[in-house]
Amino acid sequence: MSEAAPALHRRLRRRGRNAGAGLVGAAIVGLWMFAALAAPLLAPHGEAAIVSNTVFGPMSGRFPLGTDYLGRDVLSLILYGARYTIGLALAATALAAGSGVVLGSLAAASGGTLDAVLSRAMDTLISLPGLMFALVMVAALGSSVPVLIATAAVIYTPGAFRIARSLAVDINAMDFVVVARARGEKTHTIMFEEILPNMVLPVLTDFGLRFVFIVLLLSSLSFLGLGIQPPAADWGSLVRENIQGLGYGAPAVIMPAVAIATLTIGVNLLIDGFAGGRRREFADGH
């Protein structure tokens, strides 16, 4: 329409995708994944080893991130903690995204009553404030690892369901699905062979965002003392255990929290780099 339109389009495209940021994000996320997998090899000291007489010690050559409230090495604790923080969040995200996608495309592919029932049930779940729901679950069932994973998965399934369903509804109206239906294919064939393969990229983007929310949720629970229980400690628990050191400006309090921030910001950069920021508006919060 106007002369400015192509320029505007180019600018939007540049804003949407950002390869540099994506690489930085991929590097950060990759490093943390590696740290989680190789923690026993990388950690300079044992997970529970009390290696210093100084509690809340400052950063030094021997203890790069200082010592904690018992005189343990904070770097080692963070490396071991990465296993809980990343592992639990990955499991919960996979569960949430998996059930969201399966239920969402099932709802879209079958329509009718099943769609209505599933959509209403998800609307109810999504209207529960997340951390609150988690508190109730933990109060009722205790905070074992399976309960934590299941709780986080339940909280973040409705969001995944909504996105998957709206994607599937769009795809469902396309010619090749109409043709498949006319051929007389079964609902599950249409779901797995026609609809699902066409929603991989947006679902992966959503997976990343959901992972960020779940990391924040689980570490908030641990921070409140209601997540992973001692002696195991994720990054949230490390902040909680060392909160007394805040008065001395101990790195033991700040560093685990910074680790969480680098992980979540890294995932965000990765998403911006490879899928563009547009999907984000829609997924914020849930």
């Binding site: 609307d123 609150m132 508190l135 008065g247 400006g249 914020d284």
Partner: protein, 319 residues
């Protein structure tokens, strides 16, 4: 005629939210009933003599069937009889009444600070979209949404309380007896809470206004030579007010997550801390009541957001 359409829409929203609240009450009840084993035995712990268990079971109506217990509990909830704490026997209603005003004060102050800041950020970012400023705001808001509240809080305490000694690290309400005292007590908690809320709200405000700014009637206004300020204030903003009000209410509902963390860190005597303490002592009646109150508050904000969207939609007004 048109008022009736709007009233009916709003009425339907309120009805839907009440139904939702009922469904949530069922979920909360079921959730807290899932506890394996006899609740009375678990509550009594070491002191679970058969007589004590029987007495407590009777007091908690544990011998009645679950549907009846749900109805009893729901009736109590509606009439304000919330039962008694399992830990110290205090009435749940009075425990909540002593904490609720503090949480509302904290939430209110946070809203007072974060709404103007977020609107300013969101509107300017939308007007100057695509510029370096917009990009910086974008990066900062994404970063502050993806950072845990306790990192913001600990950094704020480290800088303002430990290093600079400007503000106290704990929010002791007794010190809030003057305007200066009030500021000193609330500065850090409100700053921490606002951080994520402002980011959320600014992003949504920007998205809402960009939508309007890119419509053809705004392009028309630009082409006919209206000054940029006039285009934004006179042409674009009035049509974006609905989505923006919607964004404000929705973002404020994120307060619920943040307030739980902030009250714990700053040792603030609010409702969220009451609930966290209740969870660690498994004080079920207190947890149930707090959970319902939080959910009701959350649904109220979402309802306000919906109503703002309905009221501001001219297509509904002139149908």
């Amino acid at each position: 005629m048109r008022n009736r359409v709007i009233l009916r829409l709003i009425g339907a929203r309120i009805g839907a939210n009440l139904l939702l609240l009922l469904a949530i009450s069922l979920l909360v009840f079921l959730g807290t009933e899932l506890l394996p084993g006899n609740v009375a035995e678990i509550v009594l712990g070491q002191g679970a003599t058969p007589a004590a268990v029987a007495a407590l079971s009777a007091a908690m109506h544990l011998n009645q069937p679950a549907p009846l217990r749900y109805l009893l509990w729901l009736g109590g909830l509606v009439s304000g009889h919330l039962g008694h704490s399992l830990v110290n026997g205090d009435s749940v209603a009075s425990l909540i009444a002593s904490r609720l005003p503090n949480s509302l004060l904290l939430a209110g102050l946070t809203a007072l600070v974060s709404v103007p800041v977020a609107l300013a950020l969101g509107i300017t970012a939308a007007v100057w979209r695509g510029t370096l400023y917009d990009r910086i705001v974008n990066v900062l808001t994404v970063a502050s949404v993806s950072v845990p509240e306790f990192l913001v809080a600990t950094l704020a305490v480290l800088v303002f309380a430990v290093r600079l000694h400007w503000l106290p690290a704990l929010a002791y309400l007794g010190a809030a007896d003057s305007l200066g005292g009030l500021f000193r007590v609330f500065a850090l908690p409100v700053m921490t809470l606002s951080f994520a809320i402002v980011a959320q709200m600014a992003r949504m405000t920007r998205a809402a206004l960009v939508n309007t700014l890119e419509s053809s009637y705004v392009e028309m206004a630009v082409l006919k030579g209206a000054r940029p300020a006039r285009v934004v204030l006179r042409h674009a903003l009035p049509n974006a007010i609905g989505p923006i009000a919607n964004a404000i209410a929705l973002s404020l509902s994120f307060l619920l997550g943040g307030i739980i963390i902030v009250e714990t860190i700053f040792d603030y005597p609010g409702l969220a801390r009451l609930m966290v303490d209740a969870v660690s002592t498994r004080d079920m009646p207190l947890i149930q009541a707090c959970a319902m109150l939080f959910c009701a508050f959350y649904l109220l904000l979402v309802l306000i957001a919906d109503i703002a969207a309905i009221l501001s939609n001219p297509r509904l007004r002139f149908r």
